[in-house]
Amino acid sequence: MAKLGEFELLVLLSILRQAEAPFANRVREDLEDNARRRVTRGALYRTIDRLTDKGFLTWELDPTEVPERGGNPMRRLTVTEAGMDAVRSARDVLTAFFGSVRTELGGA
């Protein structure tokens, strides 16, 4: 299975959080607002392309053409089964590691 970078993981998680509107712009806003990081447009698109290449992500053009987008369609992002597996395994690794350093880190 292909490796998953930290930013790639965040993008996949954010897509999963956007159940109603899994679109690139929403993901970017989510990451900027809630993951406290500056996300350039190009970086996000490149990541989406990379995740698609790795088979973790598929997308299709949403035919609804809203005027706020100048009549352009939206890209509906879907995490594939392989993507879900990658996220799960990343979670397992992180939980295991965090679990073992709970006292050192302090807090909850």
Partner: protein, 898 residues
């Protein structure tokens, strides 16, 4: 007021994304965020933001592509193998160039300033030209749109002569197969006034009547709502309007909900069918200078339908695929011939077809071409100036270069460094120029009084900035490459041997610089003569006696409404009472009414015949009609030359009377006196008696003669669609408008009163295009003069510095200070004279192209030519006097120093 991302940025983005399956979604993402930024920070910031995002995306993609190539080893083969090393060398050279420039900041800034001047002028002109020459009209496939108007006598270009009968459009539509659609708009729309009541203050609006399929034929999609329906295009059909984007934003706070509601215009309710998109501003394309607030349907009816008989429309057709304009014109001609054969009585069949783009931009070509030529000339002067500066620096650089070369630097590397140095200056110059152009282009669309179409599209956008950089780099290459090559070429041994200063310059190089100065003076002379001729034309136009006194006159456009149609007595009573009431307002000296102010609208009526003279052979004589009340002439101070003026005794029950202007009386009857008492027939059952003759008024424009003008009394000819009230006052306008407005509201509460104008500002507007070209050319001429003076000064002070030893020796040997002074100054004047002579010759050719823009002055006007020659010679002498003075002062001291 556009709420859309910059078009060019979108195009660039689309190009960058070419081949990406998600391209449209990405464009959509940016669009969405653009609207958010627009909301938060306004349009300018949003447009800037959008450009930045696009550049970032484009840059990112380029980098990613390069990295991909590198990783696949494509770059690793062949010459690009060590691409890191060239990059490092490049950075080194750039740093070296930056150091070199920092060492002589004065030179760098001065040169950048000079380049910036030229680039700024060229970029500003490019921005103004762009919508005319490069950008298509904001319609679907604009190349297939054709403008159709009546083919009128070139001497009579009045609206009534060049517009088309509604019946012609009807028949063309029925019979022609060359067009996928034929439509039109009412050319006289400006004459109708609408008052919007109900929502807030009553407001006067301008609505343009269009055939119901107008937007469909142009291929313009309403932003909200729909286009007109065929029913709305029927006479007596449902009243509907399509709002302009400007009115929608201004008056309805850009609320899409206004579509489907109704507005009260002139007391009648109109359904709001739609809103125009921001990209289509009717006024900027079809009626520059006259804002249009909404479109309304205008019926297209067959011949024989009463009420829509006159020449009214301008037509626009969309050609069928594969049909050329000539084929379409031939078909229209055949249709007209058939119509004339079927109905010999039929008149007004004379269509002329031109491509729409040509029709809109065509009349402004001479002025714009001249601006472009002037900007190019200025740029050339800049090139020469910079060349001169570089040549002056060359010997100093030669020494430095020789040292480096002796230490092993390659020639290519040296050339690159020198070119990079000038490129740095060029980029600085581009920045200066862009700033300069930004100031100009920000001013142009706001000067909306200009009667030039498409000016609202003028802005300093990405392509103008690219243009600025390209021009700057090109300038730089033209002037910088040759000196760089020369400096970098061999002979280092000679240079190093040659004296300690490295300041001496060969005779050849000095000659070269003198030739450049002569060329500079020549070009400056052309620009100065051209702008001089325009200044004289402008003065000639200003000196024209308009025939009325505009100072201290304020005007209100009254809304006559439909209430007096067919009831002349009610109309004259109403307006009589109104004038009486306004006359009582303190400070008001005189009040009058007219149906169309001079220099405003433009129409003509036919004088069918003069009673007592033989029936004319032709259709009749075109006269310019004006409907006035008894107070108008005295308010505008138009003199009565013979007979009497109108008074309140002229009513619908007394004999019909008219006034004639001086030129009309002379042309029709030989003199003012003999015109009195004559009867004229226009149409209908009455003959009108000439009771007085008044002074000529320039009513079309200051440059066009008065023609035959006929004044009708308002009480006898209540056939007007608008009415202007003129008020002469001794008080400043601000103190009169409010009380007069109150007085008007007393008479009619629905009267819009806030829109007042000074008659002087109407005169100003008529002069605006001329003033615009004049101010641009004047600025160019001044800049050219300045550059030429700097060039002369530079060359002479340099050669004085160079020859100081020689002068010192001459003075030591007995030459007096005045002799030396005279010899330097003589050289200056000799150089300038050659330049001026060349410039005068060149101007004789150049000003021919200018002829159509001149008024009251010939293209070879000796006063201008001699005046400009003197100005240039004097300026050159002044520029030479400073180094000449220095030469005499240094005198013998030089030898001591040596």
């Amino acid at each position: 007021m556009s709420a859309l991302p910059p078009r060019r940025a979108i195009r660039l983005l689309e190009r960058v994304l070419q081949g990406d399956p998600a391209a449209r979604a990405i464009v959509g993402d940016l669009h969405e965020d653009f609207l958010k930024v627009l909301d938060r920070k306004g349009e300018r910031a949003a447009r800037r933001w959008y450009w930045r995002e696009v550049f970032l995306l484009a840059g990112g993609r380029l980098l990613a592509g390069a990295r991909l190539l590198a990783s696949r080893g494509l770059l690793a083969r062949g010459r690009l193998l060590r691409w890191r090393d060239p990059a490092r060398a490049f950075m080194q050279d750039a740093a070296y160039a930056a150091r070199a420039l920092r060492r002589s900041p004065g030179y760098a800034l001065f040169t950048a300033g000079v380049i910036g001047l030229g680039v700024g002028a060229a970029t500003a002109v490019f921005s103004v030209l762009e919508p005319f020459v490069f950008a298509p009209l904001p319609f679907h496939e604009p190349g297939r749109l054709v403008w159709i108007q009546n083919d009128a006598d070139p001497g009579d270009q009045s609206l009534a002569a060049i517009t088309v009968r509604s019946a012609n459009l009807y028949d063309f539509r029925e019979r022609s197969s060359s067009f996928t659609g034929l439509t039109g708009y009412n050319g006289f729309f400006e004459a109708a006034a609408y008052t919007l009541t109900g929502a807030g203050e009553p407001t006067r609006l301008v609505g343009a009547g269009v055939a119901h399929d107008f937007l469909d034929v142009l291929g313009v999609e309403p932003l909200h709502g729909r286009s007109f329906s065929p029913e709305e295009g029927e006479p007596g059909g449902p009243d509907a309007v399509i709002l302009s984007h400007g009115l929608w934003v201004r008056r309805f706070a850009a609320d899409p909900g206004v579509v489907g509601t109704t507005l009260t215009l002139n007391g009648l309710s109109h359904a709001v069918a739609g809103v125009l998109p921001p990209t289509f501003d009717f006024s900027s394309i079809f009626s520059p200078g006259v804002p249009v607030d909404f479109l309304r349907p205008y019926p297209v009816l067959p011949a024989g339908d009463r009420g829509y008989q006159g020449n009214r429309l301008f037509l626009i057709g969309r050609l069928q695929d594969g049909i050329g304009i000539d084929a379409a014109a031939a078909e229209i001609a055949a249709i007209m011939a058939a119509l004339a054969a079927e109905d010999p009585e039929r008149w007004g069949l004379a269509a002329e077809l031109t491509p729409l783009q040509e029709h809109i931009a065509g009349p402004f070509r001479p002025a714009l071409f001249m601006l472009a030529a002037a900007a190019a000339t200025l740029l050339l002067i800049v090139c020469i100036n910079v060349s001169n500066l570089l040549l002056a620096r060359a010997p100093g650089r030669a020494r430095e270069v020789a040292v480096r070369k002796a230490l092993g630097a390659s020639r290519r590397r040296l050339v690159r460094q020198l070119v990079m140095e000038t490129t740095g200056i060029a980029l600085l110059g581009a920045a200066v120029g862009a700033g300069f152009a930004a100031v100009v282009t920000a001013w142009v669309p706001r000067a909306a009084v200009l009667r030039v179409p498409l000016l609202d599209a003028v802005s300093l956008d990405g392509s103008a900035l690219l243009f600025a950089v390209a021009v700057a780099i090109l300038t730089d290459l033209v002037v910088g490459l040759v000196p760089a090559l020369r400096v970098a070429e061999g002979k280092e041994a000679a240079v190093l041997r040659d004296g300690s200063t490295g300041q001496s310059q060969s005779l050849g190089a000095r000659r070269m610089r003198e030739v450049l100065v002569v060329a500079e003076v020549t070009l400056a002379c052309v620009l100065l003569v051209t702008s001089g001729l325009l200044v004289r034309s402008f003065r000639a136009v200003l000196a024209v006696d308009l025939g009325f006194d505009a100072r201290g006159v304020i005007t209100w456009q009254l809304a006559p409404g439909e209430m007096f149609r067919g009831r002349p007595r009610a109309a004259s009573d109403f307006y009589g009472a109104l004038v009486d009431r306004v006359a009582q307002v303190p400070g008001v000296e005189a009040v009058g009414l007219i149906d169309g102010l001079p220099l405003g609208r433009n129409r003509s009526w036919l004088l069918k015949r003069i009673i007592g003279e033989p029936e004319p052979q032709e259709e009749g004589i075109q006269v310019f009609p004006q409907i006035i009340d008894p107070g108008y002439l005295s308010t505008m101070r138009i003199p009565l030359l013979a007979g009497r003026a109108f008074d309140r005794q002229d009513t619908d029950e007394t004999a019909p009377v008219i006034l004639l202007n001086e030129s009309g009386a002379r042309r029709l009857f030989g003199s003012e006196r003999s015109a009195l008492g004559r009867l004229m027939h226009f149409w209908g059952e009455w003959d009108w008696e000439v009771v007085g003759v008044v002074g000529d008024v320039r009513h079309v424009s200051p440059e066009v003669g008065p023609g035959i003008q006929v004044y009708y009394p308002l009480a006898q000819m209540p056939d007007f669609t608008t009415l202007d009230m003129v008020v002469r006052s001794t008080l400043p306008p601000a103190q009169v408008t409010a009380p007069v407005g109150e007085a008007l509201r007393e008479i009619d509460a629905a009267m819009p009163v806030e829109e007042t104008r000074n008659v002087e500002s109407i005169v100003d507007r008529a002069l605006s295009t001329r003033r615009f070209t004049l101010s641009v050319l004047g600025a160019f001429g001044t800049a050219a003069l300045l550059l030429a003076v700097l060039g002369v000064y530079g060359v002479l002070s340099y050669s004085v510095a160079e020859r100081k030893t020689e002068m010192g020796i001459r003075m030591a040997l007995g030459a007096s200070a005045p002799t030396v002074f005279r010899s330097v100054l003589g050289r200056t004047v000799a150089l300038a004279s050659v330049g001026v002579a060349g410039g005068a010759l060149l101007s004789l050719v150049a000003t021919r192209l200018l002829e159509s823009l001149l008024y009251g002055v010939s293209p070879t006007d000796p006063v201008t030519f001699i005046g400009m020659a003197l100005v240039l010679l004097a300026a050159a002498a002044l520029a030479g006097a400073v180094p000449a003075g220095r030469a005499t002062r240094q005198g013998a001291g030089v030898l001591r120093a040596e």
